[in-house]
């Protein structure tokens, strides 16, 4: 049986003014949730099997359950809307077209964890998305969905839209919290985890946009409805983002466990006259896959079993015109640029990876350089302070594993064997 698409979060994107309350509709799910016991709301999300949509896949309800109750401290919900992982492009259109799903999810989540103050930390480089968030929050306040005594329940919630300022590392949850407190965005040592000492050292839940935006549908339709989609341990639906050498790149909302082969069928296949060469299942920090992985179910377990990670379902697709060495160099330059500098393995390692890859890309390397980049990556992986360093090693290890010959070819011929013009959008015209 082939998998079909299941638009939930994306279902209203083609409606004019889908970003307004008039089109989105009343916050029925929030109303229902606020009539429930907060612990029952947490249990519903636990039962649904929802796992974090920001990449790591941690069970959302369990995260909420870690917040100590009756501790006398303020609790906070912080939405991670800092979408910056190369290839990841789902939260931005979601907040542009359907910001009320997020705001409604924030109300439900905040109520469940007993928070009276919530923040949306949105990357700064997306002006119109920020406008839409501000407008949605204002509308919700005007309707009485935010502020004091929401739905006459006695529950109060303040929600602030906070713009970042250009730093990939702020997508790391503790760096995000430091940034939100007005500091340089550098990760904190864990433990303590944010659930115990997060924003202002108070219990804090940090969740991805898509995770929170999925909550209203779970509350409205029930945990079983959500758990009825997806696979055994990867429940529900998610937005799959196809980009690169695809006939119709875009956002495809489907149950977890769909395969790239199925998605490519829906997207018109690889651009005409070309074949797939390599792809990322979930952003540049997830080890690359090749044609042999087209039938791997895109859920947390199956992708993991094949040596990569589901990540953010950011499917960046490259055809045979693409030089893998050049692509890995550009990702590596990105990690070197975004390394926050706090820990040595990542700061120095990404810097040196960049130098050696530049040499390899120009065809001026040696076979020894391949051992060098592998060795540097080995010394970053598991030794850096946060996942940024680990992520930087994924393209290195996986590209050497699958495309060693292509690296060798570069210094055999003393240059890049590919014509970069052929891989461009207009290359074949």
């Amino acid at each position: 049986m082939s998998t079909t698409l299941t638009p939930v979060l994306t279902a209203n994107w083609d409606q004019p003014n889908s970003f307004t309350l008039d089109v989105y509709g009343e916050y029925e799910a929030a109303k229902k949730a606020l009539g429930m016991d907060p612990d029952a709301v947490i249990q519903t999300v636990k039962d649904s099997g929802l796992r974090g949509r920001g990449g790591a896949g941690f069970p959302t309800g369990m995260k909420w359950g870690f917040i100590p109750q009756g501790d006398g401290k303020p609790h906070y919900l912080v939405v991670n809307a800092d979408e910056s992982e190369p290839g990841t492009c789902k939260d931005i259109p979601l907040m542009m077209a359907n910001p009320h799903a997020l705001v409604e999810g924030i109300i439900i989540t905040s109520y469940a964890i007993r928070a009276n103050h919530a923040f949306i930390y949105v990357r700064g480089e997306v002006l119109h998305v920020i406008r839409r968030l501000h407008a949605a929050v204002r509308e919700a306040y005007e309707k009485g969905y935010l502020g004091t005594d929401i739905f006459g329940s006695g529950y109060d919630l303040e929600l602030v839209v906070h713009s970042g300022a250009g730093a990939y590392i702020c997508g790391e949850e503790t760096a995000l919290l430091d940034s939100l407190e007005g500091f340089r965005g550098q990760p904190r040592l864990k433990p303590p985890f944010p659930a115990v000492a997060g924003l202002y050292a108070s219990p804090t839940v940090v969740n991805n946009v898509e995770s929170i935006a999925s909550v209203p549908s779970i509350v409205a339709n029930g945990a079983d409805w959500f758990a009825g989609m997806g696979t055994e341990k990867s429940k529900g639906f998610g937005i799959f983002s196809l980009s690169g050498h695809v006939t119709r790149p875009g956002q495809y909302e489907a149950p977890l466990g769909i395969t790239l082969r199925e998605l490519l069928d829906m997207a018109g296949g690889i651009r005409e006259g070309h074949q797939i060469k390599f792809w990322t299942p979930g952003g540049s920090s997830t080890p690359i896959f090749t044609e042999e992985h087209l039938d791997v179910p895109l859920d947390f377990e199956a992708v993991g079993a094949k040596g990569s990670m589901l990540g953010t379902r950011a499917l960046q697709i490259f055809d045979e015109t693409t030089c893998v060495v050049r692509t890995v160099l550009r990702w590596t330059e990105f990690y070197a640029h975004e390394s926050c500098g706090k820990c040595t393995p990542c700061r120095e390692g990404t810097y040196w990876l960049k130098q050696v890859l530049k040499r390899l890309d120009k065809g001026q390397g040696t076979e020894e350089d391949l051992a060098t980049i592998t060795d540097i990556a080995d010394n970053i992986l598991g030794r850096s302070f946060c996942a940024l360093g680990d992520g930087a090693t994924s393209p290195i290890h996986s590209s050497v594993k699958y495309f060693r010959e292509e690296y060798l070819k570069h210094f055999e011929i003393g240059g890049c064997p590919f014509d970069p013009k052929k891989s461009t959008l207009w290359g074949e015209q």
Partner: protein
């Protein structure tokens, strides 16, 4: 140069409104840096002093934070700050060629502005619009599916004062300073402009509708 009493009073009023939203005042530092950028077009010395004073932290602390984030500019950005994504996917899809040709056409490099102050350029890392590659941004509005020709035309139009419309955004582009004001948390009234979603964002939904695919009923 220090702020005139009028400017100072206006900035202070805005700053206090922003600070009031946060449980702890220092959280307002990033918004306030956007605010001073909306006045000066960059994070000026005066701007840093202003932030330090309003938040009760040292100027060194403010400088330390301002220099960490790429959106805070150390020298004036152009009225139109033009970014070209050169992260792997956009680079491969043509971003590298766009950057090369555009930079030569405008005559300035990364984080440089034209002498008339109209245009500045930046090599951008991933801007979360990969399904629209190659992507450009002007004052942080989306310009999707660009080519070297469309990129050069875009900049020429901006220089000539023509109306330029982002692919997914408002009818009219605002200046870098105006954009910074929105980022500070002081919205303009343009949220209703432009489509809900467009182009690649809708491809999956189009397929689902054509095939009659829906999420299961509750």
């Amino acid at each position: 140069m220090t702020y005139s009493p009028e400017v100072r009073e206006r900035l202070e009023r805005d700053a206090k409104e922003i600070i009031g939203r946060y449980p702890k005042t220092r959280s307002a530092l990033l918004p306030l840096l956007h605010l001073v950028q909306s006045e000066d077009g960059y994070v000026s010395d005066d701007g840093q002093e202003f932030c330090a004073e309003l938040l009760g932290v040292s100027k060194a602390e403010v400088t330390g934070v301002a220099t960490f984030y790429t959106m805070y500019k150390r020298k004036p950005a152009g009225d139109f700050h033009v970014g070209v994504c050169i992260n792997a996917l956009c680079a491969v899809m043509g971003g590298d060629q766009i950057w090369e040709e555009l930079s030569e056409h405008v005559g300035v490099g990364h984080e440089e502005a034209t002498p008339d102050g109209k245009i500045s350029l930046e090599r951008l890392e991933c801007n979360a619009a990969c399904d629209f590659a190659p992507v450009m941004m002007v004052n942080w509005e989306f310009f999707d599916n660009q080519t070297p020709e469309s990129a050069k035309q875009l900049v020429d139009d901006l220089r000539d004062g023509k109306d330029v419309r982002p692919t997914r955004g408002p009818k009219k582009l605002c200046t870098f300073k105006d954009a910074s004001r929105v980022l500070a948390g002081l919205p303009d009234d343009l949220a209703g402009d432009g489509p809900s979603a467009a182009g690649a964002s809708l491809e999956g939904l189009k397929v689902a509708k054509a095939k009659g695919w829906k999420a299961p009923e509750a």
